[in-house]
Symmetry: C2
Subunit: 296 residues, 2 copies
C-alpha cells in the first residue's frame, strides 16, 4: 500500500429535488453524510456541476479530508437525468475525485434496493423505471421521461386521470368519485384544466397521484383502472425477463409500493422490502470499486 | 331599411398557423378574401388581437368598406384556442365590427363541412375534435389539446409512435419498419429522442404522423395499431351519439381522411366529402346572423 491507496469512498444519489451523499472509511464507518442542491443533469447541467461540487466539498470538510484525500476518494454518483456515457464522462471530469463513476440513478437504486439479491426493482415516483439484476447483468426498462414514457409514474397517473376527466366530460367514459373530485379542483371548467395542462410540470401532474391511489383503494372504478394500467406496465417488464426461482421484486419510490395489490398473485409472492436507498446503493458500488482497486 | 342595415358579412377561420377571412355582400359575392397572421388565442392573446385587426382592416380596404361599413358588417370568427365565452367576449370587444360572434373553430368547421346536412365531422390535423350536428343542436367531443386529449390527432399519432419506439427499445413491443425508420432519425440514441420529447411542440410531433400513415398503408403492424387506435377514438364519439338514418360523416383536416379505411363498414357507408372549409362555415354562420338581423 502506498499513499495513493484510497482510504475512503463516497456515494451520492441526486435528482431534480436535491442530492444526498455520504463518505465512508474503509471499515464502512460513515465519516460524513450531507445534502445538497438539485442535480438533474438534463434540466440544468451547470447548476448540477455547481451543486455537486459544493455538496462534495462540504462532505469532505465534515469527513476531515484534505484535497489529496478527496482526490483519491473512490466515488459513485447516481444521478437522474444522465442519459448517456458522454454526459456521464463530462460530469465526472468536473468533479474533484479522480476515481469516480457517474451513472444514472437506475444502477444505484437497484444496488440499494436489491443488495446482493437477484431480482427486480420498480422505482416509481414522479417518474418511473424498472431495473432487473441477475448476477453481474443489469437490465433497465423505462426512465425515459413523461413525454414518451414514465408509465405507471405519479406524473403519468396524474396525466391519465385528467385525460379521463375530459373523456368523462365528453360522455365517452363513466364519471366516478375520482373524476368528480378532480373536476371540482378545476371548478368544473374544461378551460381551466386545459390551461393547467399547457404548462404543468411532471411534478405538478404527480400531485394528482395520491387522489388516484386513494380512490382506487376505496374501490373507485376509474382509479382502479388507472392503477391496474400502471401495474400492467410493471408486469410487462417482469414478463420480458421472466423472473424465476427466488428472484425478488422491490417496489420503491413514493408511488411504487401502492401497486402491490394490483399485481398478479404470482408476482406478489416475490415482493420484498428494499434493503436500502439509492444512496446506500451508490455507497455499495463505490465500495466495490474501492475493493477492486485494492485487489488489483 | 335604414343606413345601419348591414350590407356585408365577414367570415374568418383562424388558428396557430394563420387566419383566412372573406367579406361578402348580401348577394353572397365575395368582395375580399385575404390571409393574416397567427390567431391562437390561448397561445398568444395579444398577437391574436393584433393580427386579426390587421387582417380585417386589409380585407375591409380590399372590399371598399369605410369604417362605418366595417362596423356594421356582420362577422363570425371561428378561432382555435378560444376556450370559453369569456375569452370570446374579450376578443369580440377588441374587433372593429359591432355585430360579431366569436366561437372556437368547431362550429365553423361543422357548418362548413356539413352545410345543411345532419351528421358528424371528425376534424383531425395537428389537434383533433369531433362535432355532431342534429338540426339546431351541436355536440362536441375533444378539442382539449395534446396534454390530456387530441386523440387521433397528428401530434397524438407522433407522440404515440415515439412512445412505441421506446417500448421497442426496452423489448416490450415488437419492432417494425416504422419504429426502425423513426429510430434512424434519432440515430438509434434514446437520449436524442428523450431530449426531443422534452421540448417538442405538438406541431413537431405531428411531423411524424405521415410516417405512421404511410407505414400503416403498407401493412406495418405498429403503424396499423396506431391508426386503429385513432379510428377507435372517432368511433367512440360516433357511438356516443348513435348516428342514424342518413346522417353523414365528414373526415377533414390533414389527417382525418386517412382514418377512413380503419373505420367500421357501417361507419364508412356514411362517409361524405366535406361541402366546404371552416372559412365557408364562418361565412355561412355570419350570413345566417345577417339574415336574422334583417328579418327582425
Amino acid at each position: 500500500m502506498n499513499d495513493t491507496t484510497p482510504q475512503t469512498y463516497l456515494g451520492l444519489d441526486g435528482g431534480g429535488s436535491g442530492c444526498r451523499l455520504a463518505i465512508c472509511d474503509r471499515s464502512g464507518r460513515r465519516l460524513a453524510e450531507t445534502r445538497g442542491g438539485a442535480a438533474n443533469y438534463t434540466s440544468d447541467p451547470d447548476a448540477t456541476v455547481r451543486n455537486l461540487r459544493a455538496a462534495i466539498a462540504a462532505a469532505a470538510q465534515e469527513a476531515g479530508l484534505d484535497p489529496a484525500g478527496l482526490a483519491s476518494c473512490v466515488a459513485h454518483l447516481g444521478l437522474a437525468g444522465i442519459m448517456d456515457a458522454a454526459q456521464a464522462a463530462t460530469l465526472a471530469a468536473a468533479m474533484p475525485c479522480d476515481r469516480i463513476t457517474v451513472t444514472d440513478d437506475r444502477p444505484t437504486t437497484a444496488a440499494g434496493a436489491l443488495g446482493s439479491r437477484d431480482g427486480a426493482v420498480a422505482a416509481v415516483g414522479t417518474g418511473s423505471f424498472v431495473a432487473v439484476r441477475r448476477g453481474e447483468s443489469l437490465r433497465h426498462f423505462g426512465g425515459w421521461g413523461l413525454r414518451f414514457g414514465d408509465q405507471a409514474s405519479g406524473a403519468w397517473l396524474g396525466r391519465s386521470a385528467l385525460e379521463r376527466c375530459l373523456l368523462v366530460w365528453d360522455g365517452l367514459s363513466d364519471p366516478s368519485q375520482l373524476t368528480s373530485e378532480i373536476w371540482q379542483r378545476f371548478e368544473d371548467t374544461p378551460a381551466r384544466m386545459v390551461a393547467f395542462g399547457a404548462t404543468s410540470s411532471p411534478g405538478a401532474l404527480a400531485e394528482f397521484a395520491p387522489l388516484v391511489i386513494d380512490a382506487a383503494a376505496s374501490g373507485d372504478a376509474q382509479g382502479r383502472a388507472l392503477m391496474q394500467a400502471g401495474a400492467d406496465y410493471i408486469e410487462s417488464c417482469l414478463a420480458a425477463v421472466e423472473l424465476r426461482g427466488d428472484e425478488v421484486l422491490c417496489l420503491t419510490g413514493g408511488i411504487g409500493p401502492h401497486f402491490a395489490e394490483y399485481l398478479t398473485p404470482e408476482t406478489r409472492q416475490r415482493l420484498c422490502p428494499p434493503q436500502g436507498s439509492a444512496l446506500d446503493g451508490a455507497l455499495s458500488l463505490a465500495r466495490a470499486a474501492l475493493d477492486g482497486d485494492i485487489a488489483r
